[in-house]
């Protein structure tokens, strides 16, 4: 049976400095430091076990990443189990490991709030009228893209070739409900006149079907093999093809449907007949067709629309629910994913206005079209691109996504809790609780271990190689009853 689909999202936020000269690396550092210095003692990230050059196809790229390790930049672990750091020239937050798509929504929203609080703290800290503003999108409209990556735990025993072949049709077509929408095109040769609006922020940037890169020649399936857990048992599928969503339902379905499709692949319940003949051109073609009418060619010779391909995946997922159950993605959450998946495909097919409160690109397109009509603007008018960018402005008073009536799945109170508390359902619970309780005794932390300094040599590393060990069920009582980190370590037997 498919293993638990432990999952998470890492988002690189765009950053602008208004009212002062600044470079984005420095601004990102200021932003994060303003938050970290305000709310907690900083615990650094531990790079001991990071191996981003490992390739899932079984070889290593020594030269790909070596010169660029950003250990000098700000890099903090938060008490909710998340990592908040500067990546290249962007502030980035990785959510803690979550057990379900609904938890991912909760901690992704918490990440947004953390960035929002960071902006306010930085404004007070700078105290010169200048302002650092973050945006939750994936492209500047000038050919520069930055990512919103998902991660899913998969069984090492599943052949990687099967994952690549069978997940690709979903990655090419899921954008019909989780695309964030974009004014214009950044694909060389397509002018704004021919693509005034497209479904996805990211589709213009994909050039390969499969590969290790993330910053150039981006592949639809990324092969980074860095499981951050027991490598004999698990893979972490690192997904770079998605858009950052403002809509909670879009995030929920992006992660929820992908987790179900991956479970089906693990159980060999999906099949190869939906494989696309040309995935790279198809992902762009789907994105450039908001009417959802054009067809893509399957390898076996048939042509179908992106919606038809999604209907085929949904039908198989419903059969899979009957035959295998959805325990691997959480039964209740999985059932909700299937119900909403069906509603959203029906809505897109019959009257997309009915799903404008769920689908970012539809909400954005409606806003832009209505604004253009009222003010009689041509498609290339910069006012429309400004609306596109401002949709993702994280300042509450400026954010257009907050004004278009998007449905929420998580209450404000639960978002507030998730800013400081970890999920109870994964090893993030152990990480977060330890950081809350003994911040002065922890010298470093990363996904699969924590390093304690309890005043005696040597430093003590606690390995956390199982993503589902260290949950509240396992260790809440232990953590509650330990007075000191030293007591914790001796009771853990390390």
């Amino acid at each position: 049976m498919a293993i638990a689909k432990v999952c998470g999202i890492e988002t690189e936020y765009a950053i602008l400095v208004r009212g002062a000269e600044s470079n984005p690396v420095a601004a990102s550092s200021v932003l994060i430091n303003a938050y970290v210095s305000g709310v907690l003692r900083k615990v650094g990230w531990d790079f001991e076990d990071e191996q981003p050059g490992n390739d899932a196809r079984g070889f290593r790229y020594e030269e790909v990443f070596a010169p660029e390790v950003e250990t000098q930049l700000v890099n903090a672990v938060l008490t909710n189990g998340a990592r908040y750091y500067v990546d290249h020239a962007h502030p980035e937050i990785s959510t803690p490991e979550c057990r379900t798509a609904l938890e991912v929504v909760q901690w992704d929203r918490a990440a947004e709030e953390i960035v929002r609080v960071s902006m306010e703290s930085a404004w007070r800290l700078l105290n010169d009228g200048s302002e650092i503003v973050a945006y939750k999108n994936n492209s500047d409209g000038k050919g520069n893209s930055y990512g919103c990556h998902e991660n899913y735990l998969v069984d090492r025993a599943t052949p990687f070739g099967r994952i690549v072949g069978q997940i690709t049709p979903h990655f090419v077509t899921r954008q019909v409900f989780c695309g964030a929408g974009k004014v214009g095109s950044e694909f060389p040769g397509s002018a704004a006149q021919t693509v005034p609006f497209q479904i996805s922020q990211r589709a213009d940037f994909f050039e390969e079907e499969v590969g290790l890169e993330t910053t150039l020649k981006r592949p639809i399936v990324n092969t980074r093999d860095e499981p951050h857990c027991d490598p004999q048992k698990y893979r972490r599928l690192h997904v770079i093809v998605g858009d950052a969503n403002m809509s909670e339902v879009a995030t929920f379905l992006k992660v929820g449907t992908t987790a179900i499709v991956l479970a089906m692949i693990e159980d060999d319940a999906l099949g190869n007949d939906l494989a696309l003949a040309n995935p790279v051109s198809a992902i762009r073609q789907v994105s450039h067709d908001p009417q959802l009418k054009r067809t893509v060619l399957l390898r076996e010779g048939k042509r179908i629309t992106a919606l038809e391909l999604q209907w085929a995946l949904l039908e198989r997922a419903k059969k899979y629910e009957h035959s295998h159950g959805l325990e691997s993605v959480g039964e209740a959450v999985g059932a909700d994913v299937l119900a909403r998946w069906e509603t959203i495909l029906s809505g897109l097919e019959n009257d997309r206005n009915t799903v404008a409160s769920w689908v970012d690109w539809v909400a954005k397109e409606r806003l832009i079209n209505a604004y253009a009509e009222r003010h009689d603007l041509r498609p290339a008018d910069p006012k429309l691109k400004a609306l596109d960018l401002q949709y993702a402005d994280l300042r509450s008073e400026r954010c257009l996504a907050r004004r278009v009536g998007l449905e929420t799945l998580v209450s404000d109170e639960d978002v507030r809790i998730a800013m400081t508390q970890p999920p109870t359902t994964t090893r993030a619970y152990f990480r977060g609780r330890c950081l809350q309780k003994w911040p002065d005794d922890i010298v470093a932390a990363n996904w699969d271990s924590m390093v304690f300094d309890i005043g005696r040599d040597p430093l003590r590393r606690v390995p956390m190689m199982e993503p589902l060990k260290g949950t509240a069920d396992h260790v809440a009582e232990l953590l509650d009853t330990c007075e000191t980190a030293s007591e914790l370590l001796s009771r853990l037997g390390s």
Binding site: E12, A14, I15, P24, D87, H88, A89, H90, E92, D140, G141, K142, N144, S145, Y146, G147, H149, T214, T215, I240, G271, L298, E300, I304, E308, W311, A312, E315, D336, A339, E342, T343, L345, S346, G347, N350, N353, T354, V355, A356, S357, R366, L367, A370, Y371, R374, D381, P382, K383, K385, A386, L387, L389, E397, R398, L400, R403, V404, G405, E407
Partner: protein, 64 residues
């Protein structure tokens, strides 16, 4: 498999069966249209004052 999928194209009645109480249906189009009109009435107050400069200055480094 794909042949069968074609035959199972959705009908409105099938959608109705699946939308359970636990899954709220998306709001109706007319209500959203009215909300969109209201939004357009007030939106100029929050929009960037100089759209052209804003768009021009919005430059990011590639990431990931």
């Amino acid at each position: 498999m794909a042949e069968r999928t074609q035959k199972q194209k959705p009908t409105p009645s099938r959608t109705d069966e699946v939308v359970t109480e636990a899954t709220p249906a998306a709001p109706q189009g007319e209500k959203l249209k009215a909300e969109l009109d209201d939004l357009l009435d007030e939106i100029d107050e929050v929009l960037e004052t100089n759209a052209e400069d804003f768009v021009k200055s919005y430059v990011q480094k590639g990431g990931e």
